[in-house]
């Protein structure tokens, strides 16, 4: 084709025109996202109506809220029949909601400090790429520090507990080369002998660097939920892994024990286990023994959670192709090594959503202890606060506050797990 044959060639570019109104800015966004079809338009309008309804109903209630009266009747006088929340119950009883009604007021800094330290201890575990591995030492020490802070008493109790574990571990390391069973037994026996010996010191050392002791019965509020949740989740994870591996074991006794344990615990409602911990054990234990109630409850909840986590992890193990197991064997790794380096890292990664699901569920289940007359957050609301003459009849404010506290924690856990899944993603599709 010849250049002269072209009758017209534009020499300069057209100036850029503004896009049409319907194709830019908020209008485009609205049209594409909210009103793209008839059904979407209907849904949008319905949603707008629902949001308006919720806000117009709860808005005045929040804005007119009364924060500084000392009883429900006073609060109603201030409101003069208008809609408004009596948030003064929160300002007056916040400490009871957080710490229970018997934890000494001047000692609130101790559980608060333990709570702050919890994040320091968790950081290297949860964000292992950001924080130095050396911080794991803090994580190991944290349970003992937290115990000392929350329960008080002499500092020697947690120190002896720690020393017992260290001693047991050393013996284990010494004996493990002869046989695994001997190592385990020797380690456990050493720790117990050490604890019994130091236990005999008893009252003679009770005053050494002692903080004012607080009895288990005096703990309550959200602190109790957090304590039960954190302790039980962190104990049930390793237990659950062991149970899941035990269930796949080729050794019949171990397999049977694990299967029976898991199936029995999963077949019983948690609330039954809690009743057993609270009332039935009192009949079996010799009169006068004072087996700490919180400890009993922790044991029961941990057993319950570990059975569920074991099943979740078993799902992860089953999802791995057989080739992975055979790969471990062909590399000449023994059982412990192939589990540690090949199987578990993959299986646990698959199991994360399930584990988080159990953890969140378990954390919320800790409110069940209110049924066995322990005053956790819900127990405090349902019992002492609603039964006080001043605040009988306040519901939305108290339960809303409880829901908010639980939501913050559970939402945090779920956000973390999603972040972790992204971190562990190795298949870059």
């Amino acid at each position: 084709m010849n250049r002269d044959q072209l009758s017209f060639v534009r020499h300069d570019m057209l100036p850029e025109a503004e896009p049409p109104v319907t194709e830019k800015g908020i209008v485009k966004w609205l049209r594409e996202n909210l009103f793209s079809s008839v059904s979407n338009t209907v849904l949008t309008l319905a949603a707008i109506w629902a949001v308006y309804y919720l806000v117009s109903a709860s808005g005045p209630w929040l804005i007119n809220g009364v924060w500084d009266t000392s009883s429900l009747s006073q609060c109603r006088e201030v409101l003069q029949g208008q809609v408004g929340g009596c948030f003064s119950v929160l300002t007056e009883r916040w400490n009871q909601l957080l710490f229970g009604f018997k934890y000494p007021t001047h000692l609130y800094w101790r559980p608060a400090l333990a709570f702050v330290l919890l994040f320091v201890a968790l950081a290297p575990v949860l964000f292992s790429k950001i924080f130095p591995r050396k911080m794991l030492v803090l994580t190991g020490l944290y349970p003992f520090i937290a115990f000392y802070l929350i329960w008080g008493g002499t500092i020697l109790t947690p120190i002896f507990a720690l020393l017992g574990i260290v001693l047991g571990f050393l013996v284990y390391r010494k004996l493990i080369y002869q046989s695994a069973a001997m190592g385990l037994l020797g380690g456990v026996a050493t720790a117990f002998v050490f604890w019994i010996l130091t236990g005999m010191l008893g009252d003679t050392v009770a005053g050494v660097l002692a903080l004012e002791p607080v009895a288990s019965r005096d703990m309550g509020g959200f602190m109790l939920n957090l304590m039960l949740g954190v302790v039980c989740v962190s104990l049930s994870l390793p237990l659950g892994i062991l149970l899941a591996l035990g269930r796949q074991s080729t050794m019949p006794i171990i397999k049977v024990i694990c299967v029976v344990f898991i199936e029995f615990i999963r077949g019983v409602p948690l609330i039954t286990l809690l009743f057993v911990a609270n009332v039935v054990l009192a009949y079996f234990l010799p009169p006068g023994t004072n087996f700490d109630l919180i400890l009993r409850v922790i044991i029961m909840i941990t057993m319950f959670a570990s059975a569920y986590i074991a099943e979740v992890i078993r799902g992860g193990l089953a999802a791995l192709p057989r080739g992975q197991y055979e790969a471990g064997d062909s590399l000449g790794l023994d059982y412990a090594q192939s589990m540690q380096f090949i199987i578990l890292p993959q299986a646990l990664k698959i199991s994360i959503p399930g584990i988080v699901n159990v953890a969140v569920g378990l954390f919320k289940d800790t409110t069940l202890v209110s049924v066995i007359s322990m005053f956790d957050l819900v127990g405090m609301v349902r019992g002492p606060i609603l039964a006080s003459t001043a605040w009988n009849g306040v519901y939305w404010e108290l339960f809303g506050f409880s829901a908010l506290l639980f939501f913050v924690v559970c939402y945090g856990i779920s956000q973390y797990s999603q972040w972790l899944e992204r971190q562990l993603q190795t298949d870059h599709h």
């Binding site: 018997k102 609270n278 009332v279 009192a282 009949y283 007359s373 019992g383 003459t389 009988n392 009849g393």
Partner: protein
């Protein structure tokens, strides 16, 4: 030979009985405080205040017993119990006594092996309904949904009442009074039934109490009182006579304000015996002579306890009714202190 065996068995039986029964008062004295079972919270009867101190009408009984034994109303520790855990707590020895608005019934006394030590509140089960329902008698509640606390005698009374009157109802089971309150206000049930004292105190917390009525029928007898384990009569007597001392004190005009004055001696021999200036009633109980003085000083006599915690000047606003002294037409009647 046979005789020896017989005596041996007798001794063994005596020892066993001695071990089973003589313990509680000594145990309580040895440990230095009274362990008292209360509710996890019932308006006016037992609830911790903003400082975590237990207060209430039932708590007052515990404090009086502690004061009678130790002379110190704070020498008591409270174990909160729910409707379901209260009896195991007492039977297993976790608590020394239970003061937890518990109804005195035949089977609890005989079959569950407890000993009720008197009545500190005469209650009865009633119904509350919204006024706009237009019902004036409980017998018109045919087909109604009724909120009812599970594990209590009210549940059984309700079934009895409806069966007797040959009408039907649908129960809505609830766990605590607070929950019932909420369900009722939310319209989950047409009527709320519990002890009349509970209904009155619940209604007092409503935003519009005048919109709700308590029906005139009282369908049961609910004598509420403190209880202890069967088989330890010395301990049962301490609780029973401490309660009687509070009731008698009101009848005799002994109050926490004038008890010190009266304890110096009066012209009324019964007051003197009660307060330990004459006779040795305290010694017979295994307590000090001024046990009743301490018990009355702890929270006042029965009338004072009633007025402080649940009386007409409190938000709960209960009238004395059946709980007036027998001289005022009520049922309170303490046996003589002699």
């Amino acid at each position: 030979m046979k005789k020896t065996v017989f005596f041996g068995a007798l001794t063994a039986a005596g020892l066993a009985a001695g071990m089973a029964s003589a313990a509680t008062l000594d145990d309580v004295k040895a440990k230095g405080f009274l362990q008292c079972g209360v509710t996890t919270g019932l308006v006016g009867f037992a609830a911790p205040d903003a400082n975590g101190e237990w207060t209430g009408f039932d708590v007052g009984v515990c404090r009086a017993v502690a004061a009678a034994i130790f002379g110190d109303p704070t020498a008591v520790k409270f174990t909160p119990t729910t409707g379901k855990t209260r009896f195991t707590a007492l039977a297993s020895g976790e608590v020394d006594m239970l003061a937890r608005n518990t109804t005195w019934t035949f089977s609890r006394d005989v079959d569950l092996k407890f000993e009720f030590n008197g009545v500190n509140y005469y209650d009865g089960q009633g119904f509350m309904i919204p006024k706009n329902l237009g019902v004036t008698s409980a017998k018109e509640l045919d087909g109604a949904t009724v909120c009812i606390q599970t594990g209590t005698t009210t549940e059984l009374n309700l079934a009895d009442f409806f069966r007797k009157n040959n009408i039907s109802y649908e129960p809505v089971p609830i766990e605590t009074n607070a929950e019932g309150n909420q369900q009722y206000l939310a319209g989950a049930c047409d009527a709320y039934t519990t002890d009349a004292s509970g209904l009155a105190s619940t209604r007092a917390t409503f935003e519009n109490p005048q919109d709700h009525v308590i029906l005139p029928e009282i369908i049961s007898k609910e004598p509420l009182g403190p209880l202890v384990r069967h088989g330890d009569h010395e301990w049962g007597d301490v609780v029973r006579w401490t309660l009687n001392a509070l009731i008698a004190a009101e009848e005799l005009g002994v109050t926490s304000a004038n008890v010190d004055e009266l304890a110096k001696g009066t012209n009324n021999p019964e007051v003197n015996r009660l307060l330990g200036t004459e006779g040795n009633l305290g010694e017979m109980l295994g307590l000090s002579g001024d046990w009743a003085v301490n018990a009355i000083k702890a929270g006042g006599n029965y009338g004072e306890l009633f007025e402080t915690h649940i009386g007409e000047n409190t938000p709960i606003g209960l009238a004395r009714g059946l709980n007036a002294q027998w001289t005022d037409g009520g049922l309170l009647y303490s046996p003589p202190f002699r």
